[in-house]
């Protein structure tokens, strides 16, 4: 960042700091959804419980996709820091493919649950499940849109403080999405699959 003046640097740092605070707020939101899931997991109202509805391979694939996308996102941010535009494009593209695949699998899973009458209106357990996992899915969608916007920025101008600031915050956001998924996988899916 040699050619960046001190004021722009301070502003980028403030933006990153403010975004950290936002992510903490977001993490609290997820922790409340986790807590809600934890207390509603038995509230099945004689409907399907967690041992009956989760698919082994799909959730494993989802986990692999999202963790890999965290890696590729990291690689993209390194490429942007080193001013290698075409490499950055490639890694963002891979990240978007992985995220899209994740969303497709998740939508398939939700559609399957709806088809067997296990929608969110079936029981408190399913309400909590759909809200927690759906909110995470909404975050993935936001990340995907954000990556597309970053691509347009990259296509339109040389890598500078604006793009670096956007990338920094997007990367932070994407890692939070990954961390929350690890929580979902280990609190929602694994106990259901191994019971």
């Amino acid at each position: 960042m040699s050619e960046v003046d001190a004021k722009t640097f301070d502003e980028s740092e403030e933006r990153a700091y403010g975004f950290w605070l936002f992510l903490m707020s977001d993490a609290i939101l997820f922790s409340l959804l986790f807590a809600t899931y934890a207390i509603m997991v038995t509230a099945t109202d004689n409907g399907p419980d967690r041992t009956e509805i989760f698919g082994y391979w799909r959730t494993a694939a989802n986990t692999a996709l999202l963790l890999c996308s965290s890696l590729t996102m990291g690689l993209a941010s390194i490429a942007i820091r080193e001013d290698r535009k075409s490499t950055a494009f490639q890694w963002i593209f891979v990240t978007m493919i992985l995220a899209l695949a994740f969303l497709v699998l998740e939508i398939q899973e939700f559609a399957g649950l709806f088809a067997q009458g296990a929608g969110p209106d079936r029981s408190g357990f399913l309400s909590a499940y759909f809200t927690l996992v759906g909110t995470h899915g909404a975050h993935v969608t936001v990340g995907l849109i954000w990556m597309a916007v970053l691509c347009v920025h990259l296509a339109l101008r040389p890598i500078g403080p604006v793009i670096q600031s956007i990338t920094e915050r997007l990367t932070m956001f994407w890692h939070l999405v990954g961390i929350v998924w690890i929580g979902i996988y280990s609190m929602v899916y694994l106990p259901g699959l191994y019971q």
């Binding site: 605070l21 939101l29 959804l33 509603m40 029981s123 357990f125 309400s127």
Partner: protein, 677 residues
């Protein structure tokens, strides 16, 4: 096409509601007419509505708060009148309407009066106090203001189109579920809370970043003025507590609109979970309201006792401890839920513990006054009324912290008296004190003391008359929110309470007269020095009103009470040669755009007009994306303009001769040390 919105939504069901709607619409039209008639639309638009200056945004927040205070107070007056009359009769308000009124009263007073008031004061004062040019994210600050205004707008419009919630300001299910509240009232409540809650969260982030990153050189943590400390702690509470409100509101909305089963009676729902999540926000919220007011009192008590704040360090630690403990007491709001003896005991103990740092603060303020040269001006009057009244409320709170006692007093008027006894002196009096104290900084003239004193006495008398009888009534077994009753023993107390409400009304009228008289006599009350109270902190180290750039240059901060040190050394108004050009962010329309979209979004969610709600959401996302491509523009104030302003103000401040014979004048003993130019 229009969801459930039909012409039945208009308030023809009750003449009183129609009158309320007429006043709301008429008031809005009147304001618009005045603006158009005086030809000040362009002025308003350029200098206020699109301004990203933290001082103007702060003032606009306070304006929102004062308007909503009027609305919330009318609700209070109507309730007191109803309960004074409704012995063995229906009174004048039908039950459904009475329920709407107590629901909107609580919602408005907490979220749309107290929250904007404290946000406005922090916005105006905090950046000046820490020697910053603005908050960290000025454009975001403006957006937050309009999100708050959009939420307030949703509450106001519920009076005209549809109805408001009847489920109380806490909206407990299962009553607030579709099964028992099928109308739009609860939806208005949810979306007003969620929309303004987003704005408040963004404000919290903004304030924390400002305080952490933008303090003046040398202003270390233990040199931060106490108001800035309380602003920081309240902002931390906002960032960590408001997600709980969002989650509670969103889950209730999903139950109501999408058939989910979070809190329903059937389908495995758990209504008590709502109480938990809501109060995980709700209890910290009490401290979000009260901490900034503590900060205001700390500044005023030091300034108007002409003394350094007693035990500054312990006040800082007490503030931080209160902020931490605020997250540990939420369950005391529903001891009667039956969580079991051990859980209740644990929360009873944490509730009593949080009274300790609060007590520390009260003693610190008293010790600050001890042997001070106290000036009994209106900010000090409010402070002293707070010290006495708040202590009484605190003691009734420690009583309620005992679960066994709470079981008999839960949901009685004793509880109503207790929490009004906390938030009226603890928050509202603080905001009033701050309003009087910082008014001259904002507008360049002080507020009339005589009318201010009258307002003070009417308010304090009214408060005691209105709420002390409620303690007694609670002990006599009267539950809260009664539309009518048949116990003749209660009526005299309720009549006294209604008289108290009338006294508060007189107080509000006095405040309106005070404002009018002060504007009329603004030359007499003018403050040319920028330091009308002989104060101690940096916000007074600027002209009144401060220029858009706040400070042309700042001294190195060497301790608490930075401005006082400068005055002591005779360096406060020394000419500064190295004044440079300053660049400031330009105005922005974003606030109005996001605010309008959020308002329409909320309105459409209430009335199930989902296509338009989706369109609004899409427009918000599109606007966010487009604005990421815009380069923020700045305007440059040339150095000679900055220098000219500095010189004018410092010359006037050194002269400062307008206040001969005014008790405020003792600051001139300090000024005498200023070397002649």
């Amino acid at each position: 096409m229009f969801g459930r919105l039909t012409e039945d939504a208009l308030p023809f069901y009750s003449e009183i509601a129609m009158a309320g709607a007429a006043v709301t619409v008429g008031g809005g039209l009147f304001v618009i007419a005045v603006v158009l008639w005086t030809g000040s639309l362009l002025y308003l638009w350029r200098n206020w509505l699109t301004s990203v200056d933290h001082k103007r945004i702060g003032i606009m927040y306070v304006v929102v708060a004062l308007v909503m205070l009027l609305r919330g107070f009318v609700d209070a007056l109507m309730m007191r009148a109803q309960q004074a009359m409704a012995m063995n009769s229906g009174g004048y308000l039908p039950p459904e309407h009475f329920d709407q009124i107590f629901s909107s009263h609580g919602t408005i007073m907490i979220l749309f009066m107290a929250m904007p008031f404290l946000t406005g004061l922090i916005n105006f004062v905090m950046p000046l106090q820490i020697g910053a040019r603005d908050v960290a994210f000025p454009r975001l600050n403006l957006i937050s203001l309009y999100l708050t205004a959009a939420g307030a707008g949703l509450v106001l419009i519920s009076l005209v189109i549809g109805r408001f919630s009847t489920a109380g300001w806490t909206g407990y299910p299962p009553f607030s579920e579709t099964e028992f509240s099928p109308g739009v009232g609860v939806d208005y409540w949810i979306w007003a809370l969620v929309v303004s809650g987003v704005g408040t969260t963004l404000t919290g982030i903004n304030f924390i970043t400002t305080i952490v990153k933008r303090r003046a050189p040398g202003m270390t943590w233990m040199r931060l003025p106490l108001f800035a400390w309380t602003a920081l702690c309240a902002s931390i509470l906002i960032v960590f507590a408001f997600p709980a409100l969002t989650v509670a509101g969103a889950m209730l909305a999903l139950d109501r609109s999408a058939g989910f089963h979070f809190f329903t009676n059937d389908g495995g729902g758990n209504a008590m979970h709502f109480a938990n999540v809501l109060w995980m926000w709700g209890h910290p919220e009490v401290y979000i309201l009260i901490l900034p007011a503590f900060g205001v009192f700390s500044e005023i008590v030091a300034t108007l006792s002409s003394k350094r704040l007693f035990a500054y360090n312990s006040l800082v630690f007490a503030t931080v401890v209160i902020a931490l403990l605020a997250f540990t007491t939420w369950l005391h709001h529903f001891f009667t839920m039956g969580a079991g003896a051990s859980v209740n005991t644990a929360f009873g103990i944490t509730t009593m513990i949080i009274a300790v740092p609060t007590g520390v603060k009260v003693f610190d303020w008293l010790m600050t006054m001890y042997r001070g040269r106290i000036r009994y001006q209106t900010p000090m009057l409010w402070t002293m009324a707070f010290l006495v009244t708040f202590t009484i409320g605190g003691m009734s709170g420690v009583l309620l912290a005992v679960p066994a006692v709470d079981y008999t007093l839960h949901n009685t008027t004793f509880l109503v008296a207790h929490f009004h006894n906390m938030v009226i002196p603890g928050a509202l009096f603080g905001f009033f004190a701050g309003y009087v104290y910082w008014f001259p900084k904002a507008f360049g003239f002080r507020l009339d003391e005589r009318w201010g004193t009258r307002a003070f006495w009417f308010w304090v008398t009214g408060f005691y008359l209105a709420f002390m009888p409620l303690y007694a009534l609670g002990l006599m077994g009267m539950v809260r929110r009664l539309q009518h009753y048949d116990n003749p023993d209660w009526q005299p107390y309720l009549i006294v309470a209604a008289i108290g409400a009338v006294s508060v009304l007189c107080g509000i009228i006095c405040m309106a007269i005070q404002l009018w008289v002060s504007i009329r006599d603004r030359d007499r009350w003018a403050d040319t020095t920028g330091d009308p109270w002989n104060a101690r902190t940096l916000e007074w180290y600027s002209s009144s009103p401060p220029p858009a750039w706040n400070f042309a240059s700042l001294p190195k901060i060497e301790g608490t009470d930075a401005f006082w040190r400068l005055k002591e050394r005779g360096e406060a108004y020394r000419e500064d040669e190295n004044v440079g050009a300053i660049s400031l962010p330009t105005n922005s329309n974003d606030g109005i755009v996001y605010g309008a979209l959020a308002f329409v979004f909320g309105f459409c969610m209430v009335w199930h007009i989902y296509w338009l709600a989706l369109l609004c959401l899409g427009a918000i996302v599109a606007h966010l994306i487009v604005s990421s491509f815009r380069h923020p523009t700045e305007e440059v104030i040339p150095a000679n303009e900055v220098a000219r302003h500095e010189q004018e103000w410092k010359t006037a401040a050194r002269a400062g001769s307008r206040y001969d014979g005014d008790p405020l004048c003792d600051y001139r003993t300090v000024l005498r040390k200023v070397p002649a130019q």
